[in-house]
């Protein structure tokens, strides 16, 4: 029953955050105005800049930012007990993530839909944009490497997910062909696609695939990782309409179904079957080798509390499609709330869904052991208890959901990192073509994954570094938002306080991790040590540039109140609502 209370309290905090705090942010701090001509209207071209219905845009934003990270992070972090994870997810979503995502969207809106990278060069200086490129490259590298390992673990831990996870690829391709080649009705295609996906889950549940050891001279772990990278490479080169687009779409639909199953399951299981926590509220007996809760909790749960990646999405594509500026509150802030809800679901699954205290202690016997498999097991139990789905089937549903999430993020990541490499190549005067770029990305990522051994353990070791890098990117975005608010002489503390906390936690974590990678002898983990040093350098750089820029903008004369309200086409400031 206590899990139901936690769910309800969590949802109430999110609702309060959206209804009260985001309203304050929207009205007083960002002063969202219906009279502002958004880039979607100003530069409307039917391609990049398209005014979009706010519910649809929220769907786009939410599904682009929700990957496996809001599941993996909390599922690892509950090792410190459920309360710290819960507090950080709820408070983080309300005061950090929501503010950050809304702020990033607003900042981009008021700068003609430019991305955070471009804003960094405008507000922090040219060097600021180089840090951005470095941080985003590191981030993508880590996402690709870590998710390859996450998926591999899922496929080995849940053999029943193998058929639906790979079967989703032809289903997606068929949807793509049906929509683009045959022009079939999307509603009907969607229903058939979802039914096909769940039929595959049913088949997979009855026909689990366990790979022989060795397979093609590799262990199953190595084989899956190589197969995943091959897939991601091919997927990133295929025309988007054939695979990526329908795949992202069907995953979006699946995401909503999965979340609904999980929450309704938790409610029914808690109310009617008295399902409660098996995990301690605060775990004082953490296993040996678990890092201290401060600052590691704050970087372990990155997505779901605050995530720099959201800023990249918000300012990259979302800001170009915002119909009216006040919609930013729903799309940006509520987008973060959506991800917070996913993180809350992950916390409940891994603390109330596991059947016994013994089993929980067994899973959480070491740091980084819990992860997404614990989510699948616990969530499966909750769905079984609450909705009466057979245990193995519910586990397969969640495992497939997690695999599909991670896989779409992975292949998009390969595509994006290729762009970053090509952009970096252009800076040094090197032209990298698509195939070479893709191969380069795959080689670098595989080197990272296999750096700790042939089983691919290198991928997950870098997970805490993902959190650190991600928070660093969030800091960069918050610096920009703070500077804009300082220049307008508005309440910049709403951005500066989260910025300081997040930055200090990320920087501290990077320093702490330095000690774990450097053992002074043969055990030194050189690769992670170098990446960590790079992160620390980037962090110092961001801090220095940020402080200088903020002090400078504090001294500058106040920006005219409605200077960026000006209509760039007519050169006038609208006096009344256009709509």
């Amino acid at each position: 029953m206590d899990s139901v209370f936690l769910l309800l309290i969590g949802l109430a905090i999110f609702a309060g955050g959206y209804l009260i705090y985001s309203r304050y942010l929207g009205r007083r701090v960002f002063q969202l105005s219906a009279a502002f001509r958004t880039p979607a209207h100003e530069k409307k071209d039917g391609v990049d800049y398209v005014p979009t219905n706010k519910f649809v845009l929220w769907g786009h934003h939410f599904t682009s930012v929700a990957g496996a990270a809001p599941i993996v992070g909390p599922a690892v972090a509950v090792i410190w007990g459920w309360l710290p994870a819960f507090l950080w997810v709820t408070i983080g979503t309300v005061f950090f993530a929501g503010m950050h995502d809304l702020g990033a969207l607003w900042a981009s809106e008021r700068n003609k839909g430019r991305s955070i990278g471009a804003l960094a060069s405008r507000y922090i200086g040219r060097r600021g944009s180089y840090v951005f490129l470095l941080v985003i490259a590191l981030l993508l590298l880590m996402v690709i490497a870590a998710f390859a390992v996450v998926i591999k673990n899922l496929l080995i831990g849940n053999p029943s997910a193998v058929i639906p996870a790979w079967g989703a690829i032809p289903v997606a391709a068929l949807i793509g062909v049906a929509v683009y080649r045959f022009r079939w009705n999307l509603g009907a295609v969607t229903i058939v696609g979802v039914v096909a996906l769940y039929a595959l889950i049913f088949i997979g549940d009855n026909v689990p695939v366990v790979l022989p050891d060795p397979i093609l001279g590799m262990s199953p772990a190595t084989f899956w990782i190589v197969a995943l990278f091959l897939y991601a490479g091919i997927a990133s080169l295929l025309p988007v309409w054939l695979l990526l687009q329908p795949r992202d779409y069907i995953n979006g639909v699946q995401l909503f179904i999965g979340l609904a199953l999980l929450f309704v399951g938790t409610l029914i299981a808690g109310i009617f079957f008295d399902n409660g926590f098996v995990a301690p509220m605060i775990n004082t007996a953490v296993p040996d080798g678990t890092p201290a809760i401060w600052p590691l909790l704050f970087v372990t749960i990155a997505c779901g509390a605050i995530s720099g990646f959201h800023g990249a999405v918000a300012s990259g594509t979302t800001s170009k499609q915002l119909d009216k500026e006040p919609d930013a509150r729903f799309v940006g802030y509520f987008g973060a709330v959506g991800e917070g809800m996913l993180a809350l679901g992950a916390i409940l699954a891994t603390t109330a869904g596991i059947q016994s205290v013994e089993r929980w202690n067994e899973i959480y016997s070491a740091f980084n052991e819990g992860g997404v498999n614990a989510f699948v097991e616990g969530g499966g139990n909750i769905i079984e208890m609450g909705l009466g789905l057979p245990a193995s089937l519910s586990v397969t549903v969640l495992a497939t959901m997690a695999v599909l999430f991670a896989a779409t993020t992975m292949d998009t990541g390969v595509r994006l990192l290729r762009f970053v490499f090509q952009e970096a190549g252009e800076i040094v005067g090197l032209k990298i073509n698509t195939i070479v770029g893709t191969v380069l990305v795959l080689v670098v990522c595989m080197a990272l994954v296999f750096s700790q051994g042939i089983d691919g353990s290198g991928g997950l070791t870098i997970w805490p570094l993902f959190g650190t890098t991600n928070q660093l990117l969030a800091s960069l975005t918050l610096i920009i938002v703070s500077i804009m608010l300082i220049r307008k002489r508005r309440n910049f503390l709403v951005a500066l306080i989260p910025l300081t906390l997040v930055f200090v936690a990320a920087f501290w974590a990077a320093i702490v991790q330095l000690g774990t990678f450097w053992n002074g002898g043969v055990d030194t983990n050189w690769l992670l040590l170098i990446i960590d040093i790079l992160i620390i350098i980037a962090a110092v750089w961001v801090a220095a540039e940020g402080i200088v820029a903020m002090v400078r903008s504090g001294k500058e004369p106040e920006e005219e109140h409605d200077s960026d309200l000006m209509d760039h086409v007519t050169g006038t400031i609208p006096t009344a609502d256009r709509r």
Binding site: F55, L186, Q245
Partner: protein
């Protein structure tokens, strides 16, 4: 659900499907059109084209996009004497 609501829902669904990749697809379409333009104009540009007899019939179909095409590929003025669009 009334039919207008249903139609609005389907429109939203289509938008949800197409939105994230609209720009990418539009770019791919433009690249394809550029190649098509090149094939149609091959003979006029001095590339021997055994199918010129057929492609010449397609000229009217590409006239409208000609100006956008030659400016996009970096030529301020029309490269062809017999098509003076600007």
């Amino acid at each position: 659900m009334s039919s207008s609501r249903w139609a609005a829902f389907l429109r939203g669904l289509n938008e949800f499907y197409a939105g994230p990749y609209r720009a990418t697809l539009a770019r791919a379409q433009r690249d394809e059109d550029d190649h098509f333009m090149l094939v149609v104009l091959a003979e006029s540009l001095g590339v021997p084209d055994p199918a010129a007899y057929h492609t010449v019939e397609l000229l009217p179909a590409v006239y409208e996009d000609f100006h956008a095409w030659h400016t996009r590929i970096g030529m301020d003025r029309s490269p062809l004497d017999h098509i003076s669009c600007c």
